[in-house]
């Protein structure tokens, strides 16, 4: 069964909460760069990529990492490659 946009969005937000447990996700603008909004650094971002790959089973080549820097962009990228 293929993943819905809502399932992917939920996964992105939950995994973001896991890599940045202190972050306040409620007020997060999904179009804002995570590095700006939450002070996510390179290591947090790599941890997020690992977690999303593991949870959703979607390959994310390293060269594409800059395409997953906002929640909306990550959801769109993953949706296009899901199922």
């Amino acid at each position: 069964m293929s993943l819905t946009e809502q399932q992917i969005r939920t996964a992105v937000l939950e995994e973001l909460g896991n890599v940045a447990p202190d972050a306040e996700l409620d007020g997060l603008d999904p179009s804002e760069d995570l590095r700006d909004a939450l002070d996510i650094d390179s290591m947090d971002h790599l941890n997020l990529m690992i977690a999303l790959h593991k949870r959703l089973g979607i390959e994310i080549p390293e060269r594409d990492y800059p395409k997953l820097l906002t929640v909306d962009a990550a959801v769109a990228y993953l949706l296009a490659r899901a199922g």
């Binding site: 447990p21 202190d22 972050a23 306040e24 007020g27 700006d36 909004a37 939450l38 002070d39 650094d41 390179s42 290591m43 971002h45 790599l46 941890n47 690992i50 390293e62 060269r63 990492y65 800059p66």
Partner: protein, 244 residues
């Protein structure tokens, strides 16, 4: 403060000794966009270390040139790396900043590519996941060969060195982390395709700014002789004095 042609300056600023009354002064060294950016952080400690890093950057540039801290503008270079815009007659200063929980740092050179990374050793982190997925095979093998008690320090040594290189060349997240590898003893780098670079043109150094922090510096060096590295804590009083 003077910077010699063959010198690299690395300054670090711990946030813990910065008092409540100091923060508004450091904030005054930032420009308007940076103040707005600082205000967008959800957490005070993130706001503070961002403010410390940018105040340190601007204050250091000012101490080296005499130009006011708030006057500096930065442009994004061809690979997305911010560089200070110089005015006629000013030295070709190149800079890089880094911050982590509790510590900010700035590196400055005259015209050379430079990168710095600082990390807080106590951060929550699945180091073996990151190393296993992204590090070069030789780095992973070395990490796994170390006693468990040394694993965190060893991981962050590799990590900060890799970040320092990535930041020096300004290629950010798109550079494959396994296409260049460090050895720690002796400290050296090697490259494999797709990265085409010359190990002999790079100089790296590791630092321990405090019990909970590590740092690494990477700078492209001249062929003839290594650069002299001046690394020390920044003078908080001098920065505060710049705020007037």
């Amino acid at each position: 403060m003077m910077l010699r042609e063959n010198e690299v300056l690395l300054l670090w600023l711990p946030t813990e000794p910065i008092g409540e009354a100091d923060w508004p002064k450091l904030r005054r060294l930032l420009d308007e966009a940076e103040r707005a950016r600082a205000d967008r952080f959800h957490f005070e400690r993130d706001r503070q270390v961002y403010t410390a890093a940018h105040a340190l950057l601007r204050g250091t540039l000012s101490e080296l040139t005499g130009r006011a801290p708030q006057d500096w503008r930065f442009e994004v270079g061809e690979h997305g790396k911010p560089e200070a815009i110089r005015r006629p007659g000013e030295p070709p200063l190149r800079v890089n900043i880094s911050h982590t929980r509790g510590l900010a740092a700035v590196a400055v050179t005259l015209g050379r590519e430079v990168g710095v990374d600082v990390e807080w050793l106590e951060r929550d982190n699945a180091i073996l996941n990151i190393a296993g997925r992204y590090f070069a095979p030789a780095e992973c093998a070395y990490l796994l060969s170390r006693p468990a008690a040394e694993a965190t320090d060893t991981f962050f040594a590799f990590w900060t060195l890799k970040e320092a290189y990535i930041k020096a060349v300004g290629k950010g997240l798109s550079l494959p982390l396994d296409a260049f590898a460090f050895t720690l003893d002796p400290l050296a780098v090697s490259f494999v395709p797709p990265i085409e670079d010359d190990p002999a043109s790079w100089q790296f150094q590791r630092f321990r700014p405090g019990p909970a922090h590590v740092a690494a510096l990477g700078v492209r060096q001249p062929a003839e002789a290594p650069l002299e590295v001046t690394a020390r804590p920044a003078g908080l009083d001098a920065l505060l004095a710049l705020a007037g």
